[in-house]
């Protein structure tokens, strides 16, 4: 019953974005600020995680391929495909759920409990549209860019690790990656990135926007935003794989 209540309120919140929005110029400025926060602000963690994830995937795949009958190029194929299909969009998004999601929820939650959102409302500003829509739009734009970068870094990290450890040389790795490459995998990756971007930003915004209480509740909203975002993200990951592949 509670889940239905929250889902209904979540839908109403999304609908409220389109009711009497104010000056587009101000929204555009907010969009740019949020894009910097979400996109540029997440670069370091995405670079670090993606590079090591690719390297570890290469080493572990190589460790499992003990048969001499399987060509080494298969390692490149597995790392590239796994990166495009799952690691880049899903793992990157799970990490961003922690970083971006908690940041959005705590920011909005703090604004709520310190009456900053009330101050916008009293002024006649559509506070949900002004505060949340730019965050969602920025996520829809920056998540795919971060995921594309993550995919390149994972494949690059895998190639480097394979080369440095002598598990697979660069030529074999690239040959395998190219041989089994299907352009739809990129489309699938981008669909996932956009979906996950929306899920994380909207759920976190919902949790933050409806925070009631004080500092303790802001922390709880932040935690809930990460937990719910991850659950819904993994559920939608399964549904997308089932439907599109």
């Amino acid at each position: 019953m509670k889940a239905i209540y929250h889902f209904g309120r979540y839908l109403l919140l999304i609908r409220s974005f389109f009711r009497s929005p104010e000056k587009l110029k101000v929204y555009w400025e907010q969009f740019l600020v949020e894009s910097m926060d979400i996109g540029v602000g997440s670069l370091t963690i995405v670079v670090l995680i993606s590079t090591f994830l690719g390297a570890v995937t290469t080493i572990q795949t190589s460790y499992q391929l003990t048969s001499g009958l399987i060509p080494k190029s298969v390692i490149g194929a597995i790392v590239a495909n796994t990166s495009l299909l799952e690691l880049a969009p899903t793992i990157t998004s799970l990490v961003l759920a922690g970083k971006v999601g908690s940041s959005i929820a705590s920011h909005l939650g703090t604004m709520r409990v310190t009456e900053q959102i009330d101050a916008l409302e009293v002024m006649g500003i559509n506070s949900s549209a002004f505060l949340i829509m730019p965050k969602i739009m920025a996520s829809l734009v920056t998540f795919p860019l971060l995921v594309i970068m993550a995919a390149f870094l994972q494949i690059g990290g895998g190639l480097t690790a394979g080369h440095l450890t002598g598990q697979v040389n660069a030529t074999d790795f690239i040959q395998g990656a190219r041989e089994y490459f299907d352009p739809f995998q990129v489309t699938f990756m981008l669909i996932k990135a956009v979906t996950f971007g929306f899920i994380i930003s909207s759920i976190s915004s919902y949790q933050g926007f409806y925070t009631a209480g004080g500092a303790l509740e802001v922390g709880q909203s932040s935690t809930r935003s990460v937990v719910y975002s991850c659950i819904i993200l993994l559920l939608s990951d399964y549904i997308l794989a089932q439907v599109l592949l």
Binding site: R19, S20, E22, K23, V26, M111, T114, E115, Q116, D118, A119, E121, V122, M123, G124, I125, N126
Partner: protein, 257 residues
């Protein structure tokens, strides 16, 4: 430019917080809602500005229904509203200047120079100088209240709402803020509604007072009548401080001489 509330009721679960209050807030006057903590005065203020919806009753801005209107009309009325919140509610990611400029950027087509001139005028009006570039976290409580007031008057509001203007302030700063509220009310002829439990404010600036007790309007009048209200709950509230009694008697004595 008055605000009228008629039979306003609000409950939270089984607890009735407002039990049918009627009152008219008059233009060009500082209308005060006083009462003890938990009496329902802040809920009433939130209902009047539309942050809460009353369960029953009407709120009329110049005769125009506020509660039943569609959200677009409510937002239109709100653009004529300025509000100073209890803890100022300044946007902490914006500087003082940006806070005051924000409503101007949202609702006017002014260029940067016009906006800056207006911001400086507003900050000057609340006696705040050289703080344009500071962030809210870098200024004192009294300065925050002034910035909040400057932001509230930026768009020349018809209605000014003030929630607990003196909470957390020393007596001297509190009196300066009170003075500003009174001056702005007279200067802009706003319908000013102040929620407070500070009797110093009542004595200093109120023109019309409503005493809320247990969610009901227990008394209304002006500061001279407050001593002879005959309401035991109000007497208990007012005469906690001997200073207030002396202040009002002194004022009466001076007039009688």
């Amino acid at each position: 430019m008055s605000i009228e509330v008629r039979n306003i009721r609000k409950s939270f679960g089984s607890k009735d917080v407002l039990k049918g209050i009627d009152f008219t807030f008059e233009r060009g006057k500082v209308n005060m809602i006083i009462g003890a903590s938990g009496s329902g005065k802040s809920v009433m203020l939130k209902c009047i500005v539309g942050l809460m919806k009353p369960d029953e009753g009407e709120i009329l801005y110049e005769g125009k229904d506020f509660v039943g209107s569609p959200i677009t009309e409510i937002r239109q009325i709100r653009r004529e509203v300025g509000m100073l919140f209890q803890y100022s509610a300044l946007w902490d990611s914006l500087t003082v200047e940006e806070n005051v400029a924000f409503p101007l950027r949202m609702f006017t087509d002014w260029n940067k120079h016009q906006i800056r001139d207006r911001v400086n005028w507003c900050l000057d009006r609340v006696n705040l100088k050289d703080a344009n570039a500071a962030f809210p976290a870098e200024i004192s409580g009294g300065m925050k209240k002034r910035v909040g007031l400057a932001r509230a008057i930026a768009l020349n509001p018809k209605y000014l709402f003030v929630d607990e203007p003196n909470s957390g302030l020393d007596p001297l700063t509190a009196s300066v803020i009170d003075q500003l509220i009174q001056e702005l009310t007279t200067e802009f002829q706003t319908t000013t509604v102040v929620v407070s439990h500070d009797m110093n404010s009542v004595v200093n600036i109120s023109d019309k007072i409503m005493f809320v007790f247990n969610g009901e309007k227990a008394w209304e009048g002006d500061k001279r009548q407050i001593l002879r209200s005959g309401n035991p709950d109000l007497d208990k509230f007012v005469f906690v401080s001997d200073l207030i009694r002396r202040d009002i008697y002194d004022e009466k004595d001076t007039k009688n001489r």
